[in-house]
Symmetry: D2
Amino acid sequence: MTVRVGVIGTGNIGADHVRRLSRQVSGARVTAVFDVAAQRAQDVARDVGAVAHPGWSGLVDAEDVDAVVIASPGPLHAEQVLACIDAGKPVLCEKPLATTGEDALKVIEAEVALGRRLVQVGFMRRYDRAYRVVKAAMDDGSIGEPLLAHMVHRNASVPDTFTSDMSMTDSVIHEIDTIRWLFDQEIVATTVVASKPSPLAAGRLRDPQLVLFKLTDGAVVNVEVFVNCRYGYDVRCEVVGSEGSVSMDNPSTNALLRAGRRAESVPADWRVRFDLAYLEEMQEWVDGLAKGVVSGPSSWDGYAAAVVANRAVHALAEGTRSLVELVDRPVLYS
Amino acid sequence: MTVRVGVIGTGNIGADHVRRLSRQVSGARVTAVFDVAAQRAQDVARDVGAVAHPGWSGLVDAEDVDAVVIASPGPLHAEQVLACIDAGKPVLCEKPLATTGEDALKVIEAEVALGRRLVQVGFMRRYDRAYRVVKAAMDDGSIGEPLLAHMVHRNASVPDTFTSDMSMTDSVIHEIDTIRWLFDQEIVATTVVASKPSPLAAGRLRDPQLVLFKLTDGAVVNVEVFVNCRYGYDVRCEVVGSEGSVSMDNPSTNALLRAGRRAESVPADWRVRFDLAYLEEMQEWVDGLAKGVVSGPSSWDGYAAAVVANRAVHALAEGTRSLVELVDRPVLYS
Amino acid sequence: MTVRVGVIGTGNIGADHVRRLSRQVSGARVTAVFDVAAQRAQDVARDVGAVAHPGWSGLVDAEDVDAVVIASPGPLHAEQVLACIDAGKPVLCEKPLATTGEDALKVIEAEVALGRRLVQVGFMRRYDRAYRVVKAAMDDGSIGEPLLAHMVHRNASVPDTFTSDMSMTDSVIHEIDTIRWLFDQEIVATTVVASKPSPLAAGRLRDPQLVLFKLTDGAVVNVEVFVNCRYGYDVRCEVVGSEGSVSMDNPSTNALLRAGRRAESVPADWRVRFDLAYLEEMQEWVDGLAKGVVSGPSSWDGYAAAVVANRAVHALAEGTRSLVELVDRPVLYS
Amino acid sequence: MTVRVGVIGTGNIGADHVRRLSRQVSGARVTAVFDVAAQRAQDVARDVGAVAHPGWSGLVDAEDVDAVVIASPGPLHAEQVLACIDAGKPVLCEKPLATTGEDALKVIEAEVALGRRLVQVGFMRRYDRAYRVVKAAMDDGSIGEPLLAHMVHRNASVPDTFTSDMSMTDSVIHEIDTIRWLFDQEIVATTVVASKPSPLAAGRLRDPQLVLFKLTDGAVVNVEVFVNCRYGYDVRCEVVGSEGSVSMDNPSTNALLRAGRRAESVPADWRVRFDLAYLEEMQEWVDGLAKGVVSGPSSWDGYAAAVVANRAVHALAEGTRSLVELVDRPVLYS
């Protein structure tokens, strides 16, 4: 059985997904795409033999679309996901699930009302081998009881339109999901400290920043977010436990000795670093669909991440510690 | 278009290929399998919805088989590849292409007679990212002129039936192809030196051994082969040039700090180390077939590797330097 | 000329200093020692041909003592340093210079009154090669403008008498000096967050903790202090700048491949990690004395570190951000 | 007691030794120096308060010289060492002990006639911490039974006067001693293979070369020597055993992330890499002298290294495997 997928949004990420589903994932085929930039949608569609739809809701309802991938701008996600639930179609929604906790809650309510999961949120790091090694070491007792973690999230640069809030809602949101997943706990409070700003950060962007998260059991996680580090894309973490520590750094296999230096490459961006994670994510999603199962990061994960990210925005703006309050977790997500 | 593949041999490697083609490769489907162990073939076939054939030649000729993968015992390869050529079907043959240079030559002659390439040999390392980084650094001038290389090839252990000759024909043959590919040159001579034997090597197996290869332009490559190293699968190389050096070690992303040690995992075996290379190899092969192109390691590569491996066996047995003589390279492979 | 040194305190650190000055440092000789444990002092004295004094003040005044090393318990340091200044003798005082800012100020006042430096504080990290590489990269522009730093300070274990305050005054105080020295700035504020306590931390010790420091120019530094990490002594730092980042990890030269792992040793304790730094510190101190110069970490550095450490103790106790206020820096220390 | 040292030869290495003995080694003083370049000798002497002698034999016999360090050109070593033995004075002779096995034998005979050791050969690597870790892992069973080793010896560049023979007698001689010491065995045969020559190697210098050594128990060691590698000084080794492998690479503590690269420094030359080893060597030598003991690398080690190096020169010239024959080892060196 081949899963027929419709993709909403054919910008960079969306076009990558179309290509991946068409050329690298087994058991899937892209039959429909939509983008507000009609020409771009048609180009992508032609390349893989899909149809470019004039509107996203038509794509959701199309007969030859078994499942939907959403890679449109974040503010549109909640409405589009709700439409998929309404149509009874599985949907993989790029992060964020919603830009507010309230909107994310609507998705949860709709899914709970339906009584089964249709939604997966695109937190692809959970499919990354290196992160999985970290999680395994936490779960199998290798480091004793996890007590504390350090995360680093650096991008080479960002567009001029990038804001301090987006450091939380676009970048740190990945760390938020990673922390929740690794520790299998919720985040209960957050503080944000802006460091001395990089002279290379545009306009009023506060960059780098240091974010502290407190978890249910008291563990503290600090996240450095720096979106103008210049030298590359650098995502790392270390989880410290009572008996040891497990860490993850950039993949390293090759070294070049030249001119007094032993050098290794740093990934240029997240596509280089996480291409295999995206592939695993998609393949597992498609494999699950073939069996009628949705098992990846859930609406609940998307909701919690959105709420925490927004509390971090609040903490930065107010210069205070912000508490995180979540609704009770529905049984569907336990 | 979906490429329908028949797989001859459903032992470990063959079964992996069946699973990979069925579940991970886009655009392929396994329609037919064969194995002398009929039950094993049937189990594998049932798992992916293929037909288990009673003989390999029937599989080659089957209407619903567009292309063949050969993962049978090495001594059968040449005959089976010839049958595929005869049937005009593309074939991906696991190494070795043949156990003798003479048999490999027959394949070349058949393919040359046909006038187009149908055969690809399963030297999967050419699809490994880390090896590709080494090759890129050699090709783009990063290390100046390549002058010398060191290779290490270690297996944790081998079955009792493994012989000193097999160290060359089964293990070093991968290094032989890697060397030829990286340097884009032929090997012209080889010497083999058995070191002090490991007390853990069974029977008369000489292990570890050191193999020297001389290339057309005078560059020397030394290969350590050690198939009882106990601690894991460890494949490395370093190419030294006039301006620098490029090296490849085991992939490293995670570290565990515990009990006085900072530890990283070593791959347990070649399946762990090269699973992504196999996937790339298969996906590229299938993508090529869809376009009517076979472009991976050729019969010529299989022939040269077989000849060199056999000369290394000779060098070990005689304790001398053995010269390598190849026929002229047909235009088809230039 | 040989500098004749008197050593006050012959516990672990003091005995190390005696041995080092006698056997490894060129141009020095230990002529006098004192310890409240008279037998221990006599054993150490006999070993190197020194005299064991019955009181520390007699040692300070002894004719055959050109300079003094203080390795007694911290609460005695200020009084003993003041006696050395009174006697006009150079003194190398182990950290802390004093346990309160007030006492440290008395030392500064005495030295300022004298009009020249006699005091060096034993912040040995400034003599460590790896830390010097970090500082060099900050000073030569390699990382652009320094913006933020991460420090890790882990000890395998501590005695049952160790308290949460001591995490600041005994352990973090080294980070405080390191930060001030690397950035060449003062610390203006600090916050301390206790993480989930290790079940292996004795009694009421809060461990691990995360300490944030803000510097004059706005740069933020976070320090993880964990004195029960079990696996070894692990001191690291990374300084992130606008153009790059420089980091320091445990020294690594050897690896052991065995049983599925590639393992490197982690230092067991600070003596293993910093033995060469101590040697450099002592040699440079003695070399300076021979030329009549005291140039290492000053009373001012000792004062500032004591004040900041005490503010961190306050921040932990009160759960608030504590501001650091220092007196004006005397010209003597500029 | 202070050991008064006379230093013959005040070129780079000799001047380093003078400075080290005067400023960094405890318990030693340089009282006399000699160099054919009289001005250079006087400059060095003035700097440390020593006397510049008009001839080396006068220095050896001087009353205020307790022990001698020889850092003159290699061809003079044997004669000067013999004079020291004649004078009954301990001598630390830089490698080589002699340029021929015959001359080295004369030293052995003189020392054996005297009945006690006076001579130490300057194989400083035995004092290097990283090499000691390798040896410890071989001796304590960590890698099982040592079976094979790989050594790399690269220099950034050499003067135009450097010859292919000197690759053996100046560079590989360090590897020869290292191998003998690590394995605690003699070398019984050697083969040399010149690789494709670097276009940057001057004149007729064959560079790089690959040298194979066979040890008494059959273990094989291969050494790459490359004295024009350009990028730095790079000395490494890996010893492979029946249960594991231990390796040594350049010291690594710091990394710089910048411009797409994670870079570590490679030592510029042997002085950077081995400065601490030289210091340990000298301190241990001086400590031993104070106790009347000479215990470092012996005349026998110098003899064996000289013989093996010369056999390697022969092997290169003749293109054959050269057997190594040593006289019986005198009891004095057992």
